[in-house]
């Protein structure tokens, strides 16, 4: 494992939500005394590396900083200190409900989301039929997204990121999307994506079964710090014992 190419390199990552609360001019005029600045450190000094083609699972109780870290890796957050090195790989965050513009049709949204993920218009158009077929929304694909049910919403979101593949995929609790049939279809697609040797995947999930089945290694986050890294079985055993 030592000589394998590293796809994702996170070093001493710290993310906090301190002093970024929005304020209102009215409130600061009315209350002369300063409100206390709340500091909340979501991620405190986490370092890890993921070799190319690995599937890293992340576990931890709610609020332990898993989603924050995924968002930081996707480039949406900036870390307060520490570095995230993607070694030039493309990255996409696969989570429930990718950002859609509600008044536009599903088709338009596929195009726009794809272009936001860094694909050209032609590339997205090439994959368009595949995405539409995978989402299986029928005639709803040409209706505004605001008319979609929440299930349809996440089906479309999943299809876009699943069909438009990137080198590193970050998956946030996505394995339970849609109805039974779509769930089966999506988990088959996931396995297909994951089994690609060149793809690096980071999964956040609370489902021990999926983690055990899919991951090559596991990272246990506790209160924003790494508690344990290792083989899925060992980490899960310790984690479950701790949670009970």
């Amino acid at each position: 494992m030592e000589n394998r190419e590293i796809a994702l390199d996170v070093k001493d990552l710290r993310i906090s939500y301190r002093c970024l609360k929005s304020f209102s001019i009215k409130r600061s005029l009315l209350q002369l005394k300063k409100s206390k600045v709340e500091i909340f450190e979501a991620v405190r000094g986490v370092s890890f590396q993921v070799p190319k083609g690995e599937i890293l699972g992340m576990v931890g109780k709610n609020g332990s900083g898993k989603s924050t870290m995924l968002r930081a890796i996707a480039g949406i957050f900036s870390p307060d200190s520490g570095t995230i090195d993607l070694h030039g790989h493309s990255v996409s965050l696969l989570s429930i409900g990718v950002g859609f513009q509600k008044s536009l049709s599903g088709r338009e949204n596929i195009l726009l989301s794809g272009m936001l993920l860094g694909f050209t218009e032609e590339q997205v158009r090439e994959k368009m039929d595949e995405i539409i077929a995978f989402a299986g929304l029928g005639r709803f694909i040409d209706m505004p997204v605001k008319t979609y049910s929440s299930g349809m919403h996440s089906k479309l979101a999943f299809s876009i990121t699943a069909v438009l593949e990137s080198d590193i995929m970050l998956i946030d609790e996505v394995l339970s999307v849609g109805d039974v049939r779509f769930k089966r279809k999506s988990s088959r697609k996931m396995k297909e994506l994951i089994s690609n040797k060149d793809r690096t995947v980071v999964i956040v999930s609370h489902n021990s079964e999926t983690l055990r089945k899919l991951c090559t290694s596991l990272l246990w986050l506790h209160d924003g710090q790494v508690r344990m890294v290792g083989k899925p079985d060992e980490v899960l055993e310790a984690y479950e014992e701790f949670m009970n």
Partner: protein, 259 residues
Amino acid sequence: MKFVNDLKKYWDYTKRSAKAELKSEVASSYLNWLWWILDPLLFMMVYTFIAQVVFSGREKFFPVFVFIGLTMWNFFNKIVIGSVKIVRNNSAIVSKVYVPKFILVIQKMLVNGFKFVMSFILMVIMMFFFRVPITWKILYMIPIVLILWILTFGISNLMLHFGVFVEDLRNVMTVLLKLTFYMSGIFYSIPKRVPAPYDEFLMRVNPIAFLLNSARGCMLYGEAPSVQMLLFWGVFGLVVSCVSIKILYKYENSYVKVI
């Protein structure tokens, strides 16, 4: 510069997104595209009535005079006020994928720019209708519009940034923009109507008033604007834009933490 690269990279997206927004505006109601034209036309009538009947103003080609003012003002006003909450309104996108935040402003500028062009075409038609003598000075419109766009971009970027952190910025800006509206002479002529020391003052400190007055001068009355002032506001706009881009790049990744 990073800005140019990002602009190139996201240009296709911005264009598509603007086109999609315009299309959805038309799709949601068939009369909507008509409103792009009707809106300034109707407001022109309102202000023409108020200025000519109530305040007995006597500008030459008054309806076109108001129309030029409204077209330019609407462009500036809509984008600036829209930028205050722009990150919050796009939180679905911003919290899922990285976008340089000024792209959101440029997308808005394209949408409103399209309406601006529509309005401008109407303006030219009106000039023929009212038999406005057209001189070569109309070419001054090119730098005037360019400066208006640069200024709008810079100011909107700043609004975007502070709008994230200051909750009630929108209320403040609504009042400030209303003030600017009345101070820009949309439906009256500042040099003719405002008493002596103040008209000079307004024309000097309010770029919108200056740009409006220059636009009317070169389109309707064959007057050349002050090149010195044009240059000044052009440079000012560029400086504001550069500073605001710097600020956006520095802070844009923390916006998601606040909203």
